[in-house]
């Protein structure tokens, strides 16, 4: 080491560089904490009010530092819980029979497998195929199939009403409608094997759709002309967002019947189907979810308390 460097190294020790660290500075007093307003519903900002007329996106919600206020966190968690609960709910084994529907079952054997193996959810298990062959009416114009899909909650909710309205609409048009049935652990393409087995002209599967935040009760319908194993998405027409706040079952059933009628007339479905001039609303197109007002999900206290607050 150089002469001067050694000198400075010693001086540094002398000047206390190696002494123990001084104690940390004293802690400040805790300031009087700001009070947050939960559970009192916060007044929405003017921006949020104006935006709500155009979008259901949660905007104008403010911030705490760079994070959410507590009531926003709870609303979000409640919406997430509703979606997860809808996915996690399974259709009871005996639900179809109890509701007078022919019970069908895909090749899926567990809920986890249902999520991971869409291929198995597209095919009937042996017992269901035998039951279908034995009990279902064959050679029909329309074969509706109620199914759980990604929301058994939706299936058990508006499912029966949609099936009944759709059946009535079809029969009113003079078409023969197949045996009412309900499939468990079913994916959309299951309608191909079912429709092929009963030799239907049009198969229509009505099933729970993938839940969104705060919603788990939506149904979708997929229709295909001359169903057979090997049909693809391009062969189908669909309608989504069927529930009380979107397209209610009665209105949806009417539009689905119009769609089925077009298939019977034109003897095709999917991309080649000409939809011009049909009163379909959302049916037959890309099928987006129309804006629906977000509802406040979380209130502290019991339900009566909530009503008081809403009036106030």
């Amino acid at each position: 080491m150089s002469f001067t460097r050694a000198l400075m190294e010693n001086l540094r020790v002398k000047l206390g560089a190696m002494d123990p660290l001084p104690p940390p500075p004293p802690l400040p007093e805790v300031p009087f904490p700001p009070s947050r307003v939960f559970p009192t519903p916060r007044r929405r900002s003017a921006y949020a009010e104006a935006a709500a007329r155009h979008t259901t996106a949660l905007v104008g919600i403010g911030h705490v530092g760079t994070r959410y206020a507590t009531d926003v966190v709870l609303q979000f968690q409640a919406e997430l819980a509703v979606a997860h609960a809808a996915v996690g709910t399974e259709l009871p084994e005996d639900w179809a029979e109890k509701n007078g529907l022919l019970p069908l079952h895909s090749r899926v054997t567990s809920h986890r497998q249902f999520l991971l193996r869409p291929d198995l959810g597209r095919r009937l298990d042996e017992a269901s195929l035998a039951r279908l062959n034995e009990k279902a009416r064959k050679g029909v114009d329309i074969q509706p199939i109620l199914a759980d899909g990604l929301s058994a909650v939706a299936c058990m909710g508006a499912g029966l009403a949609l099936l009944a309205h759709f059946t009535r609409e079809c029969e009113a048009r003079g078409w023969s409608v197949g045996t009412p049935m309900c499939a468990r652990y079913a994916r959309v393409w299951l309608e191909d094997e079912v429709g092929q087995t009963v030799n239907a002209k049009v198969a229509a599967i009505l099933l729970g759709e993938r839940p969104g935040l705060g919603t788990g009760d939506g149904l979708s319908a997929y229709l295909v002309y001359r169903p057979r194993i090997g049909c693809s998405d391009g062969d189908r027409n669909m309608m989504s967002n069927i529930h009380a706040r979107g397209a209610p079952p009665e209105q949806a059933a009417r539009r689905l019947a119009v769609l089925a009628g077009a298939m019977l007339d034109q003897k095709t479905s999917g991309v080649p189907l000409n939809l011009a001039g049909l009163d379909l609303g959302d049916a037959g197109g890309g099928g987006y979810r129309a804006p629906e007002p977000r509802v406040r999900l979380v209130y502290a206290g019991d339900a009566q308390d909530k009503n008081t607050k809403e009036r106030a």
Partner: protein, 453 residues
């Protein structure tokens, strides 16, 4: 080429490079669905041992989809930078992994190497790496691109503002856009996934977003993510378009299912080059995601990580301004849960960066995948620490059209502050001028959308 290994005296023999690549992959439900994954953890390690000894030259000679049936394989082969390739071709995948991790292998070296790597080489290295390995190398790679601002500089974290609306209500889109900007989001792009895929609607949204950008003098880009053919028609309608978008797949067959080919993207790129409203030189925007090839039965027996890398081999042809992997959107049949989605996000970022792309990530889950909100927040921090170029941003992370959960307006400034990262320099200056940010801290007008005209 050796395709066998033994572990504790038990021999494992594989029949092809494609099989080795697939079985060396960490567990992914999509590989299980395709029936190509390792049968257990020990076989997976045996495949990795074999892979570690295969050279990069051997990987070049064995693309997972043969040249004869795939234009992507042919394009990668014919456009490979032979100079860069010859520097590393003799390395085994195991040696390549170690070389990537060496501190003396710097960002500029990796950038120079990128055009000499095939997707299979990059995917192979990925399979021998842990999550922290992927982050270590990913953070070294520097990919800087320019449009109306400069993306990918060190110490920066950008975001796409994604103001989607289920019916393309333009006022709804603009309310969400202003909200996002007031949280410091949107420096990568303001990009709308349209509900209606028509040239007229695309042009209308682009024009209105452009107005907001010009009126407020915002240094960023805008984009409507309709099909590339629709955007080309929208350009003909005379609308301003800063970035042109398309989803890519990792095989010719997969791209056919998306309605695209190399020739079509070449044509779109040329048209955009002539007509784009951004200052350039980068103006393309691509999205990818593990599992897309399998979902159109176009995987040719290859695993989803390797096919994802092949998307990047496609994307780099066009020197894009943005590439992002939409990592959890495809659903649990391809990425089952939090650990798989996390792993995939870090893999895709690493592979994209190593191939020279400005890689962003849509860290997200659908509500039927088993990932918690807390796990998703962790992934955003991991990606930020790994040097991810940009994340998405939506109100509370909720896409009200596509029904999935991604990064929120609030998450972007939170992650930036936590990691000491800033937006692009131009956007950073704008945010400070507007009072939205005060350096890394929220400014006086933070979260106040009325600051925007």
């Amino acid at each position: 080429m050796n395709l066998s290994a033994s572990i504790r005296g038990v021999g494992y023999r594989f029949t092809s490079v494609t099989e080795v690549l697939a079985k060396a992959n960490p567990p992914k439900s999509g590989d299980d669905l395709a029936g190509i994954s390792a049968r257990d953890a020990v076989e997976r390690v045996a495949a990795r041992a074999v892979l570690a000894d295969i050279t990069l030259a051997e990987l070049r000679a064995h693309p997972v989809v043969p040249h004869e049936i795939d234009e992507l394989s042919r394009m990668v082969e014919s456009t490979l930078d032979e100079g860069a390739y010859s520097a590393v071709k003799h390395l085994s995948v195991g040696q390549f992994r170690e070389w990537l991790l060496e501190p003396s292998t710097t960002g500029p070296t990796l950038r120079a190497l990128a055009p000499g790597l095939t997707p299979e080489m990059v995917a192979a290295a990925c399979k021998l790496m842990s999550n922290l390995d992927l982050m270590t190398v990913g953070a070294k790679c520097e990919v800087v691109v320019r449009a109306n601002n400069t993306l990918g500089l060190p110490g920066r974290l950008s975001s796409r503002l994604q103001p989607n609306h289920p019916t393309d209500d333009i006022d709804g889109i603009l309310y969400t856009t202003r909200e996002g900007l007031s949280y410091g989001c949107g420096d990568a792009v303001i990009g709308v996934n349209p509900a209606t895929d028509t040239p007229e609607s695309t042009a209308q949204i682009l024009t209105r977003l452009h107005d907001v950008r010009v009126r407020n003098n915002i240094p960023t880009q805008h984009c409507v993510l309709s099909h590339v053919t629709v955007q080309m028609k929208a350009l003909d309608l005379g609308c301003p378009m800063d970035l042109m978008f398309q989803s890519l797949s990792g095989s010719q067959k997969g791209n056919k299912a998306f309605g695209i080919s190399i020739a079509l993207i070449d044509e779109a790129h040329a048209k955009m080059k002539a007509m784009t409203s951004n200052r350039g030189p980068n103006f393309m925007y691509f999205e990818t995601g593990q599992g897309s090839a399998l979902s159109s039965d176009a995987h040719h027996g290859a695993d989803q990580v390797t096919l994802e890398a092949r998307c990047y081999g496609f994307a780099r042809r066009y020197k894009p301004f943005l590439v992002n992997t939409v990592v959890g959107f495809i659903g649990p049949e391809y990425l089952e849960d939090g650990p798989q989605i996390t792993r995939a996000g870090l893999e895709d970022h690493f592979m994209g960066k190593l191939m020279g792309l400005p890689m962003g990530c849509d860290a997200c889950f659908t509500y039927h995948a088993r990932m918690s909100q807390d796990e998703l927040e962790c992934l955003k921090v991991l990606l930020g620490a790994a040097g991810c170029t940009y994340l998405m941003s939506l109100p509370v992370g909720d896409d009200i059209m596509l029904n999935y959960q991604s990064t929120s307006f609030h998450d972007i400034p939170s992650v930036r502050r936590l990691l000491g990262k800033r937006p692009t320099p131009e956007f950073d200056a704008w945010l400070n001028e507007m009072g939205i940010m005060d350096g890394l801290k929220p400014g006086e007008r933070f979260g106040d959308p009325s600051v925007l005209k």
